[in-house]
Structures are given as C-alpha cells and as structure tokens.
Subunit: 325 residues, 2 copies
C-alpha cells in the first residue's frame, strides 16, 4: 500500500502539501495540486485510516447495539440510524446482545476497543447495577426504545403508554368493556409503559393480564392462557411484534373460534399483520424516525452540545388492518 510519502516523492512535493491537497486545509497552487492528484491516482493511494485515526483520535464510527437485528423493529430503527449516519459521514458497527446482559457487556467493550465515537443502545440490562456499568463508558451514549431508571443519558422512545390508552378508548367508545393485555419481559420500560397505559384505561374489574417475556413463545403460551380463561376479554392488546406473531399463529391454528371472536391490537406494525383475517389493529411505532433522531442526538453529544434527556415520539393508531403506508 502506498503511503503519503510515496505520493509526495512521486509528485516532487512535501507530505504536508499532499495532506493539504487531500483535506483542502490550505491553498495549493493548481499546478502542484494536479501533480499530486495524478501521483495519488497512479499509485492508487488510499489514506490510511489508522494514521488519520491516531492523529485526529476519531474514525467517525459509532456502535449500534441491540438484542437482535432479525427483529424487524430493530432493523427498522437501524435503517434510520444508517441514513443519518451516512449523511453525517459516520459508519455504524452493529453488535448483538441477544437480550443477554453479559453479552451486552462484552459487546460494549468490543465496540470501545474499536475506538467508536459514540454508542447507540437499546439496553438489555434490567437491574440497577447497570447504571454504574454504563457510567463507565467513556464515549457519548444515547439509548433508544428502552430507558433505564435514573439513567442520565439521552433517550428516544415512542409514547406507547398513550397509544395503548388511546386504543382502549377507541374500543370502549364502541361498547367494548373487557380488556386483556399480553405484557412483555418484566423490567423493560416498554413493558411498564404499556402496562401503565392499560391499567390507566381499564377498571380493575374489567381487565386481565398475561405476563410474558416479549418473545414468540410467550404469544403461543398466551393463546393457551386465553383459551383456558373463564371468559375471554373482547379486546386483547399484545406488547410487541414477536408475541403477536406467536399469538396470532397459535390462535389461527388451534383456536380459530377465539381469533374470530376477539379484537386484537398489537404494538409494532408489520406488513404481515395487514393480512391476518379477521383484521387486527396495530399501534405503529415511528421506528425509522426513532433511529434517525437517536443518531442525530448522538452526533450532538459527540460534538459536545447537549441534547434533551427524553424524546418521546407519538405512535400511529391503525385500526382494523389499515395499512401503515
């Protein structure tokens, strides 16, 4: 690989001049500029990221750490992140935690060892001990989707609390009175928010809650739970897309009569949901926007500006199979 010195020698100038040609950091005579560019071209010169990184102490790289990119929610958020990053000339290192706090720790260490300028995190940690751990991270940190208690990091979430309440009001105004909730993994702020929105809108004697773990299997189990329930709620809210898939799939296969009898409302809107029959309702989170904003906040942090601690984005209510577009 050619270095800046090779280019300088070939063009008959100093390395400083070459550097300034590359970065446009000081005026260079057009004639010498041409010479330098030509030398760069014939040598196929590419500036070393490491030399530059060492000197400027950044590679314009950030870390994106989520449970699992095969979860469409996270890959949708990533889309926004990637776009914002590209616009700002950053690139993104992606890591998986698999919802495992220990693997999250390792991944964070790995990201830091690559010299990332900042980190975007949907925290998998649930315990309070995480606070201390995250505090040790020596670069800016922005959280999304989930906030952690007493966290003093900027955080971008969707207002699913209000969205759940709104969905319930919708069905109450149509005469429904009995509601069920399939809640997610305990300890996650998303789970708490949705539970609060639910408890807030439905009187105690008219509600029933299934405590799941945010995974597909929980949806399956919830279907059985529903089937054995003395009297079905007429509206069931599902805490996320994976549980919704487990629930719908199981109802369709094993309990089609239930599927036909109840209204289903699910958090997250995905294409497949629009062709469940009978139609189900969706609460669409602004995933792409969440990623974009989180990335923008992170860039602010990196630049030393400060940014709002909590950004809460509105969800969209899509009753009865209405398409997200």
């Amino acid at each position: 690989m050619a270095t800046i010195r090779d280019v300088a020698r070939m063009a008959g100038v100093s390395t400083a001049t070459v550097s300034h040609v590359i970065n446009g950091t000081r005026p260079v005579a057009e004639s010498t500029r041409k010479l330098v560019l030509q030398a760069m071209d014939t040598l196929h010169y590419v500036p070393s990221a490491f030399g530059r990184g060492l000197r400027k102490n950044t590679l314009r790289t950030i870390g994106f750490l989520v449970a699992d990119m095969t979860n469409p929610f996270f890959s949708a958020v990533f889309q926004g992140v990637e776009r914002a990053a590209r616009n700002a000339h950053y690139t993104v290192i992606v890591s998986h935690s698999g919802e495992d706090p220990e693997r999250e720790d390792e991944a964070l260490a790995s990201l830091l060892s690559k010299g990332v300028d900042g980190i975007l995190l949907a925290p998998a940690h649930v315990a309070d001990t995480a606070l201390e751990l995250y505090s040790r991270i020596p670069v800016p940190l922005v959280m999304f989707d989930r906030r952690i208690p007493q966290g003093h990091w900027p955080c971008v979430i969707s207002d699913s609390r209000s969205a759940v309440t709104e969905a319930i009001r919708f069905f109450q105004s149509r005469g429904h009175t009995e509601f069920g909730l399939i809640a997610g993994r305990s300890g996650l702020s998303t789970t708490t928010d949705r539970l609060e929105g639910f408890l807030n809108a439905v009187p105690a004697s008219h509600r029933t809650v299934f405590y799941g773990n945010s995974r597909y299997e929980s949806g399956v189990t919830a279907a059985d739970w529903l089937a054995e329930h003395p009297h079905w709620p007429s509206v069931v809210i599902v805490g996320n897309n994976l549980m919704a898939m487990g629930l719908v799939s199981t109802l369709q296969t094993r309990y089609p009569h239930i599927l036909n009898a109840i209204e289903i409302v699910t958090l997250d809107a995905e294409p497949w949901m629009t062709f469940v029959r009978p139609p189900i309702s969706m609460i669409a989170q602004p995933t792409d926007q969440m990623g974009e904003i989180a990335m923008q906040l992170l860039i602010q942090q990196i630049q030393g500006e400060d940014s709002p601690l909590l950004t809460s984005l509105p969800c969209r209510w899509l009753p009865h199979g209405q398409s997200p577009r």
Copy 2:
C-alpha cells in the same frame, strides 16, 4: 484518556513491559505484572485502537454491504455473519446500498476508508463494468446470495435452481401441469438461477413467466397480471419474499378466488408465510449458514489462505405451510 506511557510511569516500568503484559507476548515477573495491572485499573486504561491499528495495520473489522437490512433475508444472513465474526473477534460495519450501484460504490469507498480487513457483499451491480470496479478493492472480498459473471471472488449462494426444479417435480407428481413464475430483478444471478430451474422443469407450452423487479410492488403487479391471465397456472413460484408478500396480500384483498384456486411456492421462508390460508409452500434458504460460511471464507482470505470459489448450499423444501423449525 490514559496512554500506555501513563501506565508505565505509574507502575515504574517501561512501556514495553506494559505492552507485553497486555498482550502476553513475553514472560513478565508475576510481581511486576501485578503492578502493571493495578496501574491499568486505577487509570482506567484502555489500549488505543488507533495506535494498535497503525502498528499492526488491522482493527479486526469487516464491512457488510447489502441492499437493505430491513429485508429479513439480509438480516438473517447478518445474524450468521455477526456470530462468526464475534467468535473470531471481528466486528462488523454495516452499510446499505439500496440496490443502487452508485451508492454501493460510495459505501465501498467509505468502508475502505475505515480500514476494514475485508468485505462481505451482496452485489447490486449488474453490468460487466462492475468487474473492474470490484477488482480495485484492496482487501479480500467475499460475495454472497448473488454471484457476478466471471467474478473470481469466493461466493456463497443457495442452490435455488435445484430447489425450484424440485418444487415443480413435487407438484407434477401430484398431477399439476401448468406452472407460473414471478421472476425477480433481471441481471441478478438469483433471478437467473430460479428462472433456469423453472425452464428446466416445465415444458414451454405449459409455463408462463412474469418478469418482476424483486420488490413488493412487483408482487402486487403480478397479482393483477395473474387475474388477467387467460388461464391461471395451477402452481405459481415467487422469486423472493418481498414479491411473495405483495402477491399474497393483493390476492387476499382483491382476488381471494385466485388465492383459493392455486398453489403458491415462495422462495425464502418467513414466519408470516406459515399462516397464509390456504397454506402456501416455501423454499427455505439457509440464510444463517450462508452468513456464517461467508464470514469464515472471508477470514480465510484475510489470513492469506485460499478458499473455494463457489459454495452452493442446499435449500429446504417446505410444502404446504410446514413450519421452518
């Protein structure tokens, strides 16, 4: 940020010793080792990735470049990549091309400017000019999903050609004679493979082909095309997951009688497909394995070993809504 020199000073040793403690590259007396470790701890010392990168000319980072991570196919491949990378202590920078050759070029340049050790690519380029372009990439390159003509880079694909033929044989043995194909974007090797598998198995007078573009909209258009077709094929093969979603969704909404009358076979197996009614058949590509193997080949290349030019993985045939698990 503390440097190796700060640690050396505090421990009263040379930087060389500290380095050797860190890397275990030569014996260090247990007593001095303890001193060094302690100093590292109290200073919260983290080795600089850039210093190390400059010296060793690697950051153990690779680039992963696909059209779009929200396509479940690519995010599934990524899962295998990420796992293999993590096991080998590599991290992965993810970029989007959006199927746009120009953006692919930019993304490649950006990856290279970050000093990646190698690149995993599902090429968006279709023209022959791409050959020269890819040849200029100064680090090992492994392709997956799509191969390009005359490409001399290792490539990992699935044997969808055989899989399509096999699917057709399955239905032929059950008395079906008329077959349709919704083909993907022209120029992609995946499209060609599937087309070949189709043409190979169905006599000319018994087949009909819709030429799509691999996107959701193509599936929608294909549904209209089917509806206007003088006589429907009794089996329709769909070239990928996005077109399948467009097709099924549109048939269900606008042409339920067609959906009930024909057999649908789709490439890619995704959860939502298992609850289409009536059940459709799937050709499952080994996505996770594809990613894992591609990453392993890339590591081989980086280490200067050579690897097979073409790795073709078998698909799985899942007739009639059979679950992928």
